[in-house]
Assembly symmetry: C2
Homo-oligomer: 324 residues x 2
């Protein structure tokens, strides 16, 4: 250990989701050290508060012994109704000040409290409501490192529950969730479609770009309501031999991503004049970026996980760290 | 037994699907006697041909002992690649003559062969292919009892894999399958949406007509690609308290049926001048008929299972029974 010559950290940031806990020691908005554990909120060492405290202690106890005054902030499902303590949703339009102002605190069990970020609610009359928890901090991270996007931008966070968020003057003004990744998973695993798919085709790698693009083009030419017929096409394209069975997952993936793009782009205003920014795992972002290009839409930037920087932004807004 | 005074049957018709086997003793196009067993092709008493022969003997042996020359016809998954013997698909346009001409025979093990109906394939360039197996015989039944629909009609068979079939001059000229029922089942049972649904809400009964109609109206106002966002609404309507949890399955059901209707009606030509006929289980047909009325579309007729009459039609076309 050579900590004497390294400046001390200023923040401990926790990205605490359903299946994992990631801890980031930060200084000046940058990550000094990263740790990860499997203690997501559904995989705690014990039920309830003791489980959260144990999981936190296992990942951070030595850090807090060394720096007992270190502020701690967290985001993700740890603040859900099923989490350590519920941090209620704040309504759109929401910016980092709104989030910090409605964050809640929970005793860490090791000295400092943990400040947990709220989620964001979109709830307007005559529209479907929507919820996010965790993505708002990723967006706050992207806006901190690229303040030009705060003026106006569209942030796309692909995944199990993809989010398309519209940013104006630093605020999330509206957004929509698409169940794309989960729809792919349940259809592949639990519907008749999976019967023709070879077991190794788990959709994680694109084995047949032509089949993926057939899914995209099918989505592009679709009318309202067509999706469940086109989903059934996954089976009939295989039965008729038009696609090899190993390519059926690619067709389905392209179809579902394509439908998300058709709707998401239509709901994002004039994307020719507004930056489109993607945040997420690089391989998934690449698949989406390819799909967007296929639809004639360029992508202004692709960012990997911005949650740590977003948590830094939250800590600044809460007065826990200074401006860097 | 009082068979001496009853005219003998002319046909044994088998509706042999995945989960059950139904046998109909018929005369003059009418059912004399019905039997049912659980020996669907996935629930046979033994694997392969012996299992089919045993299942057939259990349900029909005494009948064939009494009338050894009785012709036997069958439809459904018994003719699939996973069935007793594969009866290949015939291509659209297909009528009852086409079906009879390409039906295949398999020895019943009790004397007569069984004539198994083929399925129907829709396979045109630049369109998604589609398959049906069993519905073509139900359609043939509806056309036999209501020949006026042969000129031109739209037949809707709602279910796990709903079919919208366009009939012209007695032929199925094109059709489309919608995965509606299966999509509802896998989303309710295997996705995050099920977490908010009370266990007893299995979607079989409509507990909240308002929630069902919210699903319909959401579908009606949707643009291309919107479905997976609207599906996520099942969760957010519950989380925000806009719908009680017990009503979420109704919203999802209305949404999925509504999407099917939007697309199916758009693909069925001018339904103001073409009869729309529904075939299927009465409770499900009623749910669809209600939805169609909500969309401003009347239904000309609702028929319960027409497979027995359709099998009679097949037997006539194959020369196994005379015109009645």
């Amino acid at each position: 250990m050579n900590t004497a010559v390294v400046p001390p950290p200023q923040l401990l940031a926790l990205d605490w989701g359903t299946s994992s806990l990631r801890a980031f020691l930060m200084r000046d908005g940058r990550i000094i050290e990263t740790r990860q554990s499997g203690h997501g909120i559904q995989h705690l060492p014990a039920p309830g508060t003791p489980g959260y405290q144990q999981a936190f202690a296992q990942i951070a106890e030595d850090w807090l012994r060394q720096w007992p005054q270190l502020p701690v902030v967290a985001c993700g499902m740890v603040g859900s109704a099923q989490g350590w303590k519920e941090a209620p949703y704040v309504r759109c339009p929401a910016d980092i000040q709104t989030l910090a102002g409605q964050a809640i605190s929970v005793p860490s069990g090791l000295g400092p409290d943990i400040l947990i970020a709220p989620g964001v609610l979109f709830d307007e009359p005559d529209e479907l409501p929507d919820v996010m928890r965790g993505e708002e901090i990723q967006i706050a991270g992207a806006l901190l490192t690229n303040p030009q996007w705060a003026v106006r931008s569209c942030m796309l966070l692909p995944g199990t529950h993809s989010k398309w968020a519209q940013i104006e003057t630093g605020k999330i003004v509206r957004y929509a969730t698409y169940l794309t990744g989960e729809l792919f998973a349940v259809l592949s695993k639990h519907s008749i479609l999976g019967r023709l798919m070879p077991a190794e085709t788990d959709g994680k790698k694109e084995s047949d770009p032509g089949a993926f693009e057939l899914g995209l083009s099918t989505a592009r030419s679709s009318g309202p309501g067509d999706l469940s017929h086109q989903i059934f096409g996954t089976r009939t394209l295989g039965l008729t031999g038009r696609l090899p069975h190993a390519a059926l997952a690619d067709y389905l993936s392209g179809l579902l991503i394509g439908h998300e793009l058709v709707s998401g782009m239509a709901g994002s205003g004039d994307l020719a004049s507004v930056p489109l920014v993607m945040i997420g795992a690089p391989s998934l972002c690449e698949r989406y970026a390819h799909s967007l290009r296929y639809f004639g839409q360029s992508v202004d930037a692709v960012l990997d996980n911005t949650a740590p920087v977003g948590l830094w932004n939250l800590a600044m807004a809460a007065g826990l760290v200074g401006k860097h």
